[in-house]
């Protein structure tokens, strides 16, 4: 009973973090058709911004929304600086990979310069811990598990129920037509990046509350987010969310059954075999051709 409970709880917790990261990546991919390799660095930046604000004396309840707003600005800047000027180039995907990698390295080294390599930690969202059935859990982790679906639901409502969200999806579906009906495509690109960076920042604040922060902390979550996004299919927002929880459970189970060392190898083996059978992702509609 106890192992099962731990697998379920661990899966839900990891799945929440992966969903938070993956949905931001997917948002940028579906809207602009590029992969943001600075997403992990943005996550780290969000955690450090929140840390700076709390260190300055702000309570977390104020620091968190402030950091998320600032991250929106950072995402917009990233888009304007290294993505927007490349739109229309024949090798767009590859060029954005390299410029976002470079931008990520810039942010990472900048934070290293500004804050030093010493690990820091954010205050948890909720202090304390409790026991649920056979296992003890921290309230911080529980808060993340409960908050993530709310955030994702809000995002879904925004994308499907508001004019702005619909405009964003229109750009994702057909950029030319979106422009023809008078949508400001450039601004919507900026919005997609801003939203994505805010989500990454929130994930960073979540992670910074239970694990030590370091300038390189974005690397592993980015990798997991990539797996999640590929696994779920990059043509939709909901696919990666399902995949995030699936991967979370798979990881928790594999950690228990095969040990910590083999888990990444098993995840990648699963990923590669999925891509060979269903290259469009598990939860995506079948496509005739992959571009």
């Amino acid at each position: 009973m106890q192992p099962l409970a731990e697998i379920v709880f661990g899966g839900l917790f990891q799945g929440s973090l992966y969903a938070m990261m993956g949905v931001g990546l997917a948002l940028v991919w579906t809207t602009i058709g590029v992969f943001n390799f600075a997403h992990g660095a943005l996550m780290m930046l969000g955690a450090y911004l929140a840390w700076t604000l709390t260190a300055a004396g702000l309570p977390l309840a104020l620091a968190l929304p402030a950091a998320i707003l600032l991250m929106g600005g950072a995402g917009w800047l990233l888009q304007a600086g290294v993505v927007r000027p490349l739109i229309g180039r024949p090798n767009l995907v590859l060029a954005v990979v390299i410029t976002t990698l470079a931008a990520g390295s810039l942010v990472e080294n900048g934070v290293l310069q500004a804050f030093g390599p010493r690990s820091k930690q954010l205050p948890p969202l909720v202090e304390g811990s409790m026991t649920i059935g056979p296992i003890g859990v921290s309230l911080h982790q529980l808060a993340i598990i409960l908050a993530t679906p709310v955030v994702l639901l809000a995002l879904w409502l925004f994308l499907t129920r508001t004019r702005l969200g619909l405009a964003l999806r229109a750009v994702a579906q057909n950029e030319d037509s979106a422009q023809l009906v008078g949508l400001n495509v450039a601004a919507l690109y900026g919005l997609a990046f801003a939203l994505s960076a805010s989500l990454a920042g929130l994930a960073g604040i979540f992670i910074g509350g239970y694990r030590f922060m370091s300038p390189a902390m974005g690397g592993d979550p980015l990798l997991k987010a990539l797996i999640v996004v590929v696994f779920g299919g990059i043509s939709s927002i909901s696919g990666p969310i399902f995949a995030a929880y699936l991967i979370g459970f798979l990881e928790a189970f594999s950690n228990y059954a095969f040990g910590l060392y083999w888990t990444p190898a098993i995840l990648f083996a699963v990923l590669i075999s999925t891509l060979m059978v269903r290259p469009e992702g598990l939860f995506a509609p079948r496509m005739g051709k992959l571009a």
Partner: protein, 340 residues
């Protein structure tokens, strides 16, 4: 060129692709270029200077081979540095654990990297674009994780130390200020570059480019996507793996860092800064970026940030890279010569 010779070239010689250098001219320029590089120890004294040049040659081998799959083949292969890392670990394990003679291990490492390239190509045979990036990226991480998890063989995060170096008879190649390693690295670069240029100038090279530029038409003309993709990836792997083995023998240690994103980013920026689909561009950019990076050693922690800004700047300003810049300058000079 005199007016008469220009006319003779126009009338007499077979039509040639604009901007394509005749094979003999290229061979002469190639020989001259490498003769110059071979004389560099006369200009650059000291063991440290030669170390910088050796690293520049190594990076040039890795970057130019990546240009074959990425630039010519249009295959977004992000496992290229993993092939290099496989070369590093193959040499280390073959010499230390199996006890194979270093020179044999060097060649074997190239073949092992080639086999690994075939292995990673199989899942991407039917994929395109971003999906190839993701699978190859995943493969690179998989290799790293396997090496990390098999720590009793590979040393895990500690890496492998005291790997046997290369010797010539009784002469350890690291002695005499690394002269022997310098010429071995140069030889590796010369062999690799010659092989790459011969491939891309051949009909096979034209087929690789045709597949990149118009896959449907190329397939309709009877080219096999699977076979050509396997060939492209495999042939870009041999010298990359051998360079990895050379690196292991030269540094005498192997560490997991070779699989890290930072090295991949630097080498990828060499390929892209040089301009894809040229081979020489990648080599030139490797030299420039290595020297530039060394020149900024004083900046310490600021160096990666300066390099990052430089990469973004060149990507935004010169989409065709340094090779495009050189080509544009050459075209300009050519017009000037013709007009006078």
């Amino acid at each position: 060129m005199s007016a008469l010779a220009t006319r003779a070239a126009q009338v007499g010689s077979p039509p040639r692709t604009p901007g394509r250098m005749p094979a003999t001219v290229e061979a002469i320029a190639f020989a001259a270029g490498f003769a110059f590089l071979a004389c560099l120890p006369l200009l650059v004294g000291g063991s440290y200077g030669r170390h910088v040049l050796i690293m520049a040659f190594l990076y040039a081998v890795i970057a130019s081979n990546w240009d074959l799959s990425l630039g010519y083949g249009g295959i977004f292969n992000f496992a290229h540095l993993a092939l290099f890392g496989i070369g590093v670990y193959a040499y280390a394990l073959l010499t230390k654990l199996v006890g194979i003679e270093p020179w044999t291990a060097l060649v074997l490492s190239g073949f092992i990297a080639t086999a690994a390239a075939v292995l990673v190509t199989v899942p991407i045979l039917r994929l395109k674009g971003i999906f190839i990036i993701l699978v190859t990226f995943g493969f690179a991480q998989l290799v790293m994780q396997v090496i990390l998890s098999q720590s009793e063989l590979t040393g895990g995060t500690q890496g492998i130390v005291r790997i046997p170096g290369l010797t010539l008879g009784d002469h350890s190649m690291i002695r005499d200020n690394k002269f022997a390693y310098f010429y071995l690295a140069l030889g590796l670069l010369a062999l690799s570059t010659a092989a790459l240029r011969i491939i891309v100038r051949s009909r096979l090279g034209a087929a690789i480019v045709a597949l990149r530029d118009n896959e449907d038409y190329a397939v309709a003309r009877g080219l096999s996507v699977a076979r050509l993709r396997l060939f492209t990836m495999a042939s870009s792997a041999f010298f990359t793996g051998a360079a990895g083995a050379f690196y292991a023998a030269y540094q005498r240690n192997a560490s997991i860092d070779v699989f890290g994103m930072s090295l991949s980013t630097v080498i990828l920026s060499m390929v892209l800064l040089g301009g894809t689909g040229t081979i020489y561009g990648a080599i030139l950019a490797s030299f420039l970026l290595t020297l530039f990076s060394e020149a900024m050693a004083d900046f310490g922690a600021w160096r990666p940030m300066i390099v990052a800004v430089l990469i973004v700047g060149v990507m935004l300003a010169y989409p065709a890279g340094l090779a495009g810049l050189v080509k544009a300058a050459a075209g300009h000079a050519g017009r000037l010569v013709r007009s006078t």
